[in-house]
Every structure is written in C-alpha cells, then in structure tokens.
Amino acid sequence: MTGEQIHELINRDLDGDLSPTERRTLEQALRRNASARRLHAELKSLGTALSSVRQVDPPANLGNRIRADVRSRISVPQPRRTLMDSLRALFAAPTAVRYGTAFAGGLVCGALLFMFVIHPSAAIVSGDAATGTLMTHSETYTVDVQGARGILTALQTESGKDLTFRLTCDAATTTKLTYDPSRVKLENVREVQSAGGPVVVNEGVIQLTGTGAQKCTLSFTGVKDSKVNVQVACVGGGTFNKDIQVH
C-alpha cells in the first residue's frame, strides 16, 4: 500500500467514511508503519480540536439589523396612473371639485413662489439651535455641528410622521432616535444604515453609530402630543437635539 493510499484512508477514517474492510486494511497499515500511526494520531487530535471550537453568539441586534435591512428593500407595487388618467378623472369630476382643485393648485404655486423665489430663507432654518419652519406638512432641519452635517425631514402623513435623516459624519458620531413605546409606534423601517458602524433598532430606540454616512427613513404613529426625540452627538463635541411631534 502506498503512502498516498494510507493518507487517504487515515483522512476518511477521521470522517467516519471507511467500510469495515477498509478499516481493517488501515489498522494493519498502522500496526506496521510508525509514521502513519503518528499522522493518524495528529490528525485525529486536530479533528477533535476543530470540532470543539465553540459557537459564538451573534451580536444581540443582528436579527433586528437583518429584518430592518430586508424590509427596507421591499417594494410595494403601486398601480401606475398616467397624467392623462388624472386629467380625465378631473374633468369627469363635479364642477365644484374642478374649481376647488384649480384654486388649491393656485395656492400651492403661490406658496412655493413665496418660499423659494421671493423669500427663500423661510423654508429652512439651520444650526445647533435646531429650529425649523413648518413648510406645508413638512419640517426640515439642517444639522450642522462640529463633526457632522446633514438634514432631518419630518413629513406629516395621515396617521403620523415619516422621518428621513441623512448625515455625513467626519468624526465618530452617535445618532439616537428615542420615543416612548407606550405612546408612539414605529410603523415602518424603510432604511437604516450606518456606513461606519453598528445600527440598533429596538423598541423605543434607534441608534446609529460611526464615522461616514448615516441614513434612515422611518414611519411613526402616536397618540396626541407624542413625540420622537432626535439626538446627534459627535466626538468632536457637536450636538443636535430636536423633538419631533408625531401627533
């Protein structure tokens, strides 16, 4: 029997892959060959050591991270409606609705003209003081603190608020969204990502940590006067703190 054949039998023996005849052949070879015996013992010892390597618990938030990431990729197909479909529906509507729509359209155009052309500074207010101006049903705040800058947008929905957060961090930054789960419900996590560090999504707290890009898009609903607190803290010392009214 060649050395190569013995080597194969030894390896297959370790994996419990030998027939009784092959096993007897190996045993005979081992009795006659000291270096084969040594190899057999060493590999057996290696197999035992490898099999006894412990299983490690994954990070506690891994399941939540995966679930949030998977949900952020779910696309709900919406029926496509063309401009012509919309116009047809409008012309088919009662007169009062047609005039009402035209009037509302005029108001929206006027407001947009005022905010972006006549008096653009009314749309966004920035800084550590974290003040904002209500823009129709959306609030936008700029975060511009030492070590991090970005935008926080809160959009009023029929049932609550959609929060979108985009931040670029030059220094290690922790962004924490906290809420009282007995008053506020996290309805939807469309996106939670932190390029430079871990993400935690637990009941009552969403936390992104690290340097680089941080972003999240979340939907909340809540009881009257409920709120979500958004806090940004950079290692460099910059802080941002804002309560967003959910209801």
Binding site: N11, D15, A34, R38, H40, A49, V53, Q55, R73, P198
Partner: protein, 187 residues
C-alpha cells in the same frame, strides 16, 4: 404545534409573507454568523456578512431551487459573501486590530481560549478554499456531499481539498508550537 420546515417558510415567504422570512433569520442567523466568523475572523465583519447573506437570500428567493436544502443554499451565499468581504478587506489590511481575541476579551484567558485563538489563526493562514472545507466539515459538521453542494464542486474535490487542508493546518499549528500536534505516538 409542529415546527414548520425551512422549505414551508420559503414557500410562504415567496407568497409575500415577510414574517416567514423573519423565522428563517431567527433559525439560521447563529450558524451563518459562526460560519462567517471562522471565515473572516473579525466579529463585526462576520455580522456584516451575515446581514448581507440574508438580504441576498431574500432578494434571490425566487431563484432558490427546492430540490436542495435551504441551509445549503444559505451556506453557499455565506461562503461567497465571506470571500467578498475578505477581498474588500485586503485593501485595508494592516488597519484592522479587531479579531476574535476582542470578542473573548472579557473571558478568562485560559488554555481553551488560547487554543481556539491559535486554531483560528491557523485557519486564517490556509487559503480560502481550504479554509472553507475545513470550516464546513469540522465546525459546521456538513457531509462531503453537502460541502460539494455548498461549494459547487465534486465530492472527490471536497475530499482531496479537505485532506490537504488538514495536513497544512496541522503543519501550521506545529510551527506555531501547539504541542498536541507535535507529539510522537510511536515511542
């Protein structure tokens, strides 16, 4: 109530029941994390790999062939994602000081822990093909056939790769001075 099989959960998930996928995540995240950990060593990287494994699995669920076992398919994605992570990490090699040691830092630094660390170091010195077969065989407990399915190679190749990997690992551990692989048994 009997536990639903992976294949049942996959079917439900394909029908749009996202909660069935949550159950699959719950069921397999620990195994996938450990497979990734032994492939890439770093705990944070292993968590990132695990996350992208499940996201890829979800996005490609329609392509899953039910004639294979779900976990084999998941392992296959995990091995590929681990290789991608290692490839990306090559660019930043030298910057990373966080390894399995960090994860066990608060544990008593006894002989078992030290030996596990040496074994992990030894695994990292194997080439990735060899490392994959050793991890799948000895740490995940897969058969030759299952390893072949995961890595998409014939059983014969699994065996020859595994045998040479074990020989290399034994030699590496000997060089690192692990006595149990250097003892004489014929004296």
């Amino acid at each position: 109530m009997t536990e639903q099989s992976d294949e049942d959960l996959v079917r439900r998930c394909r029908a749009g029941e996202i909660k069935s996928f949550d159950q699959l995540v719950e069921r397999h995240q620990r195994t996938i994390f450990n497979l990734a950990l032994r492939m890439v060593r770093d705990s944070d990287d292993a968590a990132d790999v695990s996350q992208s494994v499940f996201v890829k699995a979800y996005e490609n669920l329609e392509r899953f062939d039910p004639q294979y076992r779900f976990f084999s398919w998941l392992y296959r994605i995990a091995v590929n994602e681990s290789l991608n992570a290692l490839e990306q990490k090559k660019r930043f090699e030298g910057l990373d000081g966080n390894d399995l040691a960090a994860e066990t830092a608060d544990e008593k630094d006894d002989e078992t822990v030290r030996e596990e660390r040496r074994i992990q170091d030894g695994l990292m010195m194997l080439n990735v093909d060899q490392r994959a077969v050793v991890v799948l065989k000895h740490i995940q407990g897969l058969s030759y056939r299952e390893i072949g399915q995961v890595l998409d190679i014939p059983e014969k190749t699994v065996k020859s790769r595994l045998f040479s990997a074990r020989q290399s690992l034994k030699d590496i551990l000997k060089k690192k001075g692990v006595r149990r692989y250097d003892r004489r048994t014929d004296s």
